[in-house]
């Protein structure tokens, strides 16, 4: 199951880039020729540019390791390329930022070199769930960045900020919602389970999933737009055409700061927190440099820089960060988040996709 929307650039580039993104690969930009170097894959476009500008140059200064940043395509194309290259003993990038579902899929073929936490002392800063582990406990990846999908609304049309995801089900929201169109990027099953079924564990069984889908089907009359392209919803939200829905917290915050009548609310059940991991290809010979890099990225100061400059939510504990309350609120929240059930999108992907499509299009 692909997770093209699992990263911010991915979802932005979908219409423009689509599959074509794959062809734009492998245009590494060498920052400085050094003896030691590391190829790092990050999502192409805004992400890569921000990392080049705000992170990689300082990293090279601090460690003497030159970074060649490689633009990753969206979706699972990068995972497929890493996998096929690794079979041939090549690594188009040593360390790559990977979506959670890609991490799990890569685990199934042992694509990721297990990381040695002793060489990443800063990993103790991480919130536990951002350490991605193989079933036997070896570390496959380390949380790089995360971001939130929250309940957003137009302040002109919806006067009172909603407090719960349950607001989407209310009768007066008929034909007023914009929701993500795919089971694997909307995470609405998790939202339903957390809001109405006591937690995402309710999705452990197929009966539980079907029950959640039944509850979701009640939403259908309220949904005006099931969107794949975020620009479509963002525009409609700003104009009040579609006054409520799920959207990205950081982008909504930026739109509100620009004076648009929109707000992003963390419902009491929590926002949906999605994230990307740093992972090392088994074909890479730069194990030492990779550990140095990942360790560098887990520093509180670097995570704070990411929040300020790139707009991502930190993957390390809040009390270690020097972010002001305002800076923190711009990218995150203290309310316990809804964590997507990535395991389901690996083990039950076809079942989920089939039932989901039947639910919304049937």
């Amino acid at each position: 199951m692909s997770d093209i929307f699992n990263n911010k650039i991915g979802r932005r580039a979908v219409l423009a880039g689509g599959i074509a993104g794959a062809s734009m690969l492998a245009m590494p930009s060498v920052l400085r020729a050094q003896d030691k170097s590391l190829k790092v894959g990050v999502y192409g476009g805004y992400f890569k540019d921000s990392f080049d500008k705000n992170i990689f140059a300082d990293f090279t200064k601090a460690t003497g390791i030159a970074v060649e940043s490689v633009a990753e395509p969206t979706g699972e194309a990068w995972l497929v390329q890493l996998e096929q290259a690794a079979k041939a003993g090549a690594a188009p990038a040593d360390v790559s930022m990977m979506s959670q579902v890609s991490m799990l899929k890569g685990q199934s073929t042992n694509l990721w070199t297990p990381l040695d936490l002793a060489k990443i002392p800063n990993s103790k800063n991480l919130i536990d769930r951002f350490v991605n582990k193989y079933p036997d406990g070896k570390v496959a990846g380390i949380g790089a960045v995360s971001w939130y999908i929250t309940l957003v609304s137009n302040t002109d049309v919806i006067k009172e900020a909603p407090t719960s995801w349950a607001a989407m089900w209310e009768k007066d929201k008929e034909d007023k919602l914009g929701l993500l169109a795919l089971v694997s990027n909307s995470f609405l099953l998790e939202v339903t389970a957390k809001t109405f079924m006591g937690g995402t564990n309710a999705l452990d069984t197929e009966e539980g999933i079907l029950k959640a889908l039944e509850k979701l089907a009640e939403l259908k009359p309220n949904v005006r737009l099931w969107y794949r392209d975020e620009a479509q919803f963002e525009q409609a939200l700003k104009s009040g055409e579609i006054p409520m829905g799920q959207y990205y917290h950081d982008v909504t915050g930026l739109a509100a700061a620009d004076g648009n009548p929109v707000r992003s609310t963390f419902p009491k059940e929590g926002g949906i927190q999605d994230s990307g991991c740093w992972a090392l290809s088994r074909a890479s010979k730069k194990t030492e440099e990779a550990h140095t890099f990942i360790n560098y990225m887990c520093q509180p100061a670097i995570q704070a820089t990411l929040s300020r400059k790139v707009g991502t939510a930190p993957t390390i504990k809040r009390d270690l960060l020097d972010l002001t309350a305002e800076e923190f609120a711009a990218v995150s929240s203290d309310i316990e988040p809804i964590i997507p059930r990535y395991d389901l999108y690996q083990t039950k992907s076809d079942f989920l996709n089939q039932k989901w499509t039947e639910m919304i299009a049937g």
Binding site: M1, G18, R224, D229, Q346
Partner: protein
């Protein structure tokens, strides 16, 4: 100039290039797609070469049958709408002044330079409640309150017809320009009204052109993927939308390939049927 049938292998030379291109850019990719459609999907992974029918079996369900049915219906509806609007339009265009013709053709050709994305977003704005044409109707006193016309089937149809219309005119135009004007004049002399002359003389004389136009627009509309998504509700999503979902978002290439093969086969069969029916009618 006398034409001789090719004698030696060299005489076929001019054919090698197009044949090579056809093989390289059509036969090979299509054969690959057919091969992949039989591969084994590995959930939570990719796919492995095999020969299984699972992908086709999954497609043979009521749900996908309905989606396929809707896609075909939509393509046929767009083709008919284009021809119904296009034939009278092109007929009048072909009879208007040269300058007028050029202006119209340039305008129509410029539509072709618009991408599907732009067309989709433009229509979704025109059909919106906050900025759309219904505001104009309210101002004119035709409606009491602005309302959203999208997402709806009508919105999808309008945008797709708009997108396919230039092609329709471009295919019809040469035939209509060449159509002998004395045919219609003769009908008029014999007492037919202009409308009757149009339907009893012009349209039958253009039967093959119209059939060709219908088929071309049908195939063009069948591949539509973006407009149904931007302007329709989920029940208006075409099979192409689901194929894209499977290929890009689910990385389920075998299933996407199987659906695509199915779509190609069904559309080929329909086109074959239409051509056959056309020939039968001509034979009578």
């Amino acid at each position: 100039m006398r034409r001789e049938p090719p004698q030696r292998l060299g005489d076929y030379g001019p054919l090698f290039f197009p044949a090579g291109m056809l093989t390289l850019f059509f036969v090979v990719p299509f054969a690959t797609m057919i091969a992949v459609s039989f591969f084994q999907r590995e959930q939570g992974g990719f796919y492995t070469p095999a020969f299984v029918l699972d992908n086709y079996a999954r497609f043979l369900s009521l749900f996908f049958g309905k989606v396929l049915g809707f896609s075909l219906f939509l393509a046929v509806a767009v083709a008919i709408a284009c021809v119904v609007v296009g034939v009278p339009f092109t007929y009048l265009l072909a009879r208007s002044a040269r300058k007028m013709q050029i202006a119209w053709l340039v305008a129509l050709l410029s539509i072709l330079s618009l991408s599907e994305v732009m067309i989709g977003f433009a229509w979704s704005t025109l059909f919106s409640r906050t900025a759309g044409i219904t505001n104009l109707f309210v101002w004119l006193g035709l409606m009491s309150q602005a309302q959203a016309l999208t997402p709806s089937f009508g919105a999808v149809m309008t945008a797709m017809t708009y997108q396919a219309f230039p092609y329709t005119v471009l295919v019809l135009y040469p035939a209509l320009v060449r159509l002998d004007p004395t045919l219609a004049e003769a009908a008029r002399t014999l007492g037919a009204s202009p409308v009757k002359a149009f339907f009893t003389v012009v349209v039958p004389a253009l039967r093959n052109t119209i059939l060709a136009t219908l088929i071309m627009v049908f195939i063009f509309a069948l591949g539509s993927y973006l407009l149904p998504q931007l302007l329709g509700r989920p029940q208006h999503w075409t099979l192409s939308v689901l194929i894209t979902d499977q290929a890009i978002y689910q990385s389920n290439m075998p299933f996407a390939a199987a659906m695509a093969v199915f779509l190609v086969l069904v559309s080929l069969a329909l086109v074959g049927l239409a051509v056959y029916a056309g020939q039968q009618k001509e034979a009578k």
